[in-house]
Amino acid sequence: MAKAVDKRLHEALKPVKKRILLRHFMKYIALGAILALIQATIWLCASFLIPIPYMWEKVAVCGLGITLISVAVGAFHRPSLKSVAREADRLGLQERAITAYERMGLEDAFSVLQREDAIRTLKELDARMISVVPPKKWLLSVAGLALLVILGSLLPNPQSQIAARQTRVQKEIEKQVERLQNEVEENLAAQDELTDEEKRELRKLVNQLARRLRQTGDYKEAIKEVSKAEQQLTQLVNGFRQYRMGLVGETLEKHLLTADLGRATKAMDAEWIRQAIENLKERIKQGNMDSETMQSLEVALNSAAAALPDGSLKSQLEKAAGAVASAVVGQSGDIAKELDSLKEMLAYMAEGGLANPADIQYMLQNMKHSIAAAAGQDIHLAQNSRDASHGMGSHSNGKTNGELNREENGQNSAGQPAKDQGLSGENGDGGSSGRDGQGSGSGQGDGEAGGAGNAPGGSSSPGNSIGTGQGSSGVGAGPGAGTGHTNQDAGHQGGSIPSHHNIKGRGNPDSYGDYERIYDPTRLGDGGQTGHVTGKPSGQGPSQQVEAGPGLGSFDGFIPYNEVFGSYSRQAMQNLERMNIPAEMRELIKEYFKAIE
C-alpha cells in the first residue's frame, strides 16, 4: 500500500522532475559554453603572442570536450527526487512536496492526508512554469564571451600567417611522410639488389624519420631532419657498398690471379679496379693464360659471386665466370665484354653505387622541397641557415646522386649547363656514376670539415677534376668543385666568409655569423673554372635511362652575381660607415669589393 502511494507521488513528481532535469542540463551546457568560450578567449590571446596552427580546430575540440565534461558532471550530479520536490515547492506548493517526500511510507492520518494533498497539487501544477532557460547572468556571460571571441578573431593577427604556414607545413609533412613510407615500401618490395637485412635497415631509417618529422612543427627542423636522414642514408648505403665490395675483394684476394683486383675492390678504388681488370683482359687477350689459370680465374669469380647476396653484382660475377668457363672448354664467349661489364659494375660500386636504393634519396630531396614550398620558402633559403653551420654550400650542383645523373646520357653539350638542379650537394658525388659517357658530371664543393670536395665528372670522359678542399676549423672551405657545370658553390673561403649567394636580398636568414652572405664568384675560380664535360654515350656497358621531370625544384631564387653585386657593394659601403668596424677591416672589405668588381 505504502509503496503504491509512494509510486503515485513519484508519478506526480515526474513531469516536474523531467523539467528540472532539462533545466539542470541546460544549466550545465551553459556552464560548459562559458568555460569553452573562456578557453577560446585564452587561445585567442595566446594566438597573438605565438603562432598556433589549427587554432580554431583546437578551440573547437577543447570547447566540445569541456562542454561534454560539463554535461557529464551534470549527469553525475543529477538532482535527486528530494531536490525535485523542493523545486516543485518553489512553484507555490508551499512545501507540500518535500513534506510528502519526507513522509513517504508513513500511514498515519496526517501523512495520508498530506500526501494526497501533495499529489493533488502536483497534478494541478503546470510543469512548464519551470523555466529551462539557464540563469540570465550565465546567458549574458555566454553572449559577452562569444562577442569577445568574434571580435578577437576579426582583429588582424600577425601570428596567423605564421600559424597558417605551420599548418601547411604540418599537413605537407604528414602527406610526405605517408607518401615516403608507401613508396619506400613499394620500392623495397621490388628491389632485388638489397638483402632483407638491408631493407629492414632502410625501413627503420624511414620510419624513424617519419616519427621525428611528425614530432616537429617547424619546417626548418623538418628539413634538418630530412637532411639528417639523407646523411644517415648515405652512411647506410656506404655500409652496404663496403660490405659487398669487402666480400668480393676478400674472395678475389685469395686467388693469385685476382689478388690485385681483390685489393683494388677492397680499397674501393675505381681506377685501380679498372686497371686490374684491364690487366686481366690483357693477359687473356695475349693468350698467356693456360686452361688451369683460366679455371682458377673462373673459380675466383664464382667464389666471389657465391660470397655475395643476390643482386646485379653477383649476377655479373657469375656471368664473367661463365664466360671464362666457356673459354676454357673452347666455346666462344665474350670474356672481354663480360669483364668490361664487371669492371664498370665494380667501379660503379666503388664510386657510389647503390647510392639511391629504392629511390629514397630522391624522395627525401623531394620531401625537402615540398616542405619548404609549403612553408612558402625556397629550399635553399631554408637550408642556408642550417648549412652555414656545417660549411656546406647549399647550391651544389649537378645531381647529388648517381641515379639521377644517369639521365643525362651525354645530352649535355659543352657550354651548356646540365639541366638538373642539385640540392644539397652534401655528398659531393654528383655525376659520379656517369658511366658510359654520360656527360652530366658536375662538381661541387663538399665543404664539410676538412672538406675535400671532389667532383668526378662523367667517367668516360677523363676530364674529371678533383677539387681539393681545404678545411679549416671544421668549416668546409676552399675550392671544392671542378668540372661539370653550374658549379656555383665552392664552399667557404677558408672558413671565414662563406660563399653563399644571397637570393633576392631576402636578408638576414642568409646571414652567417656577423657577416652577410654574399655571392663570391672568385671562389669559383679557385678550384677550377666552370666548365662542362662533354659526354658521349659509348654504347657499351649497362645503362639506364631515366626520364627526368622538370627537376627537383627551381633555382628561381638564384640571382646572378652581376645583378646583386651593385646593391651588395653599396650596402657594404653604407654599413662600413655606420658600423663599428676596425680600420684595417674596413680597408680589407673595400679591397675585396674592388677586387670582385
Partner: protein, 326 residues
C-alpha cells in the same frame, strides 16, 4: 491519542467557525484574532500590547464565550498581591471547627485576562509564572492543577510608562505571542461605532468547548513539518543571537540577546496551527515567516544602538528573514 482523518478535516472547519463567531463581536483586528487563536490552539499565552480602548478585553471575553470557557479578569495594579492572583488559604469555621481552606484566586479559570499586567509589581507578575508555564499553582506548599485548557491573555499599554513595571525577560518568554493591537481603520471605526452606539450589537455564540480545544490542540501538534522547514525556523532563532559568528549584520548591530529555545517552540507549534488554518496539512516557510513576528518580537532585546536608533523588533526580524535562505 488516536487521530482520524475526520478529526483533521474538522479542525479547519472548527477553527473557521471560532474565527467567524469572534469576528461577529470584534470589528477588524483579523490578524489579532487569528494570532490569539493560533497561540491558544498551540497551548500558549498571549501578551496583547495596545493603547486602551482597542477591544482587548472584549476580545478575551468573546473568546471565552465562543469557547464556552471560564473566564477571569484581573486588573493589575501596583497594590495587587500574588495571593490576589493565585488564591490563598483562609480560616474556615464550621461545625467541625476551624480549619484552613484554600480559596482559589482568579487564575483558576480557563481564560485569565491579566489586564495591564505591567502595572503590578514584579512580585505579583511573577505569581503568574508557574501558572503560565506549568499550568499549576503552588500555595502553602500545595500544588494545584489549573483547569484545562488554561490560557493567559495579558495586556499592556505601550504609552504609559509612569508607575509601570516592565515585564522581566523570564516572564516575557513565557508568552507564546506578543500581539500588537493596531488602531482600527476608518471603516472599522464606523462599524465599531454603529455596532456599539446604535444597539446593533451581536452576541457571539458558543461553538466549541474546552474538550474541543484540547482535541484541536492535539491535532495541531501532529501537523507534519518538513526537515528543511523546521531547519529554517531554527536557523531563524539562531540568527537572532548576536554572539554567533554567522549572525546577520543587523543582529550583531541591534540585538543584545536573542530568542530562547521557547521561541523556536513557539514558532513551530503556532506555524503548525496556521498551516491547518490555511487548509494545509504541512507547515510551510510562509507559516514560519508569519508567526516569526509575534513569536520573536518580545524575545529579542535591543542593544543600545538599536534603541538609540529607534529600531522596532519587527523591523529587525523582517531584515533577518529577508537574509535567511530557505
Amino acid at each position: 491519542m488516536d487521530m482520524s482523518i475526520n478529526d483533521i478535516e474538522a479542525f479547519a472547519q472548527k477553527v473557521r467557525e471560532i474565527e467567524g463567531e469572534i469576528a461577529k463581536e470584534m470589528v477588524g483586528q483579523r490578524d489579532v484574532i487569528r494570532q490569539v487563536i493560533m497561540a491558544m490552539l498551540a497551548g500558549g499565552n498571549v501578551l496583547l500590547e495596545g493603547v486602551p480602548g482597542l477591544g482587548k478585553t472584549r476580545l478575551v471575553r468573546t473568546i471565552s464565550r465562543v469557547l464556552d470557557l471560564s473566564f477571569s479578569r484581573i486588573q493589575f495594579t501596583p497594590d495587587l498581591m500574588p495571593a490576589d492572583v493565585v488564591g490563598t488559604n483562609i480560616v474556615v469555621r464550621d461545625e467541625s471547627g476551624s480549619r484552613f481552606e484554600f480559596q482559589p484566586g482568579p487564575v483558576f479559570s480557563n481564560i485569565v485576562l491579566a489586564d495591564e499586567i505591567n502595572r503590578a509589581t514584579p512580585k505579583t507578575q511573577s505569581a503568574l509564572l508557574e501558572a503560565m508555564q506549568e499550568h499549576t499553582v503552588t500555595v502553602g506548599g500545595v500544588t494545584r492543577q489549573l483547569p484545562q485548557p488554561f490560557f493567559v491573555l495579558a495586556t499592556q499599554n505601550p504609552i504609559e510608562q509612569e508607575g509601570t513595571y516592565p515585564l522581566p525577560e523570564a516572564q516575557l518568554d513565557r508568552f507564546m505571542f506578543k500581539i500588537l493591537v493596531e488602531f482600527p481603520s476608518l471603516e472599522e471605526l464606523h462599524e465599531i461605532i454603529d455596532m456599539t452606539t446604535a444597539g446593533r450589537e451581536v452576541k457571539a455564540q458558543k461553538v466549541a468547548d474546552g474538550q474541543t480545544i484540547m482535541r484541536l490542540r492535539s491535532v495541531a501538534a501532529a501537523v507534519p513539518i518538513a526537515r528543511s522547514v523546521q531547519d529554517y525556523a531554527l536557523r531563524l532563532v539562531l540568527a537572532t543571537h548576536p554572539e554567533r559568528d554567522d549572525a546577520p549584520q543587523v543582529t550583531k548591530r541591534y540585538i543584545r540577546y536573542g530568542a530562547s529555545p521557547r521561541g523556536a517552540q513557539s514558532i513551530i507549534s503556532t506555524a503548525k496551527v496556521r498551516a491547518v488554518m490555511e487548509g494545509r496539512y504541512n507547515v510551510s516557510f510562509e507559516d514560519i515567516r508569519y508567526v516569526a513576528y509575534p513569536a520573536l518580537r518580545h524575545r529579542i532585546a535591543l542593544s543600545f544602538e538599536g534603541m538609540a536608533e529607534g529600531k522596532a523588533p519587527d523591523e529587525i526580524i523582517g531584515q533577518i528573514l529577508s537574509e535567511l535562505e530557505e
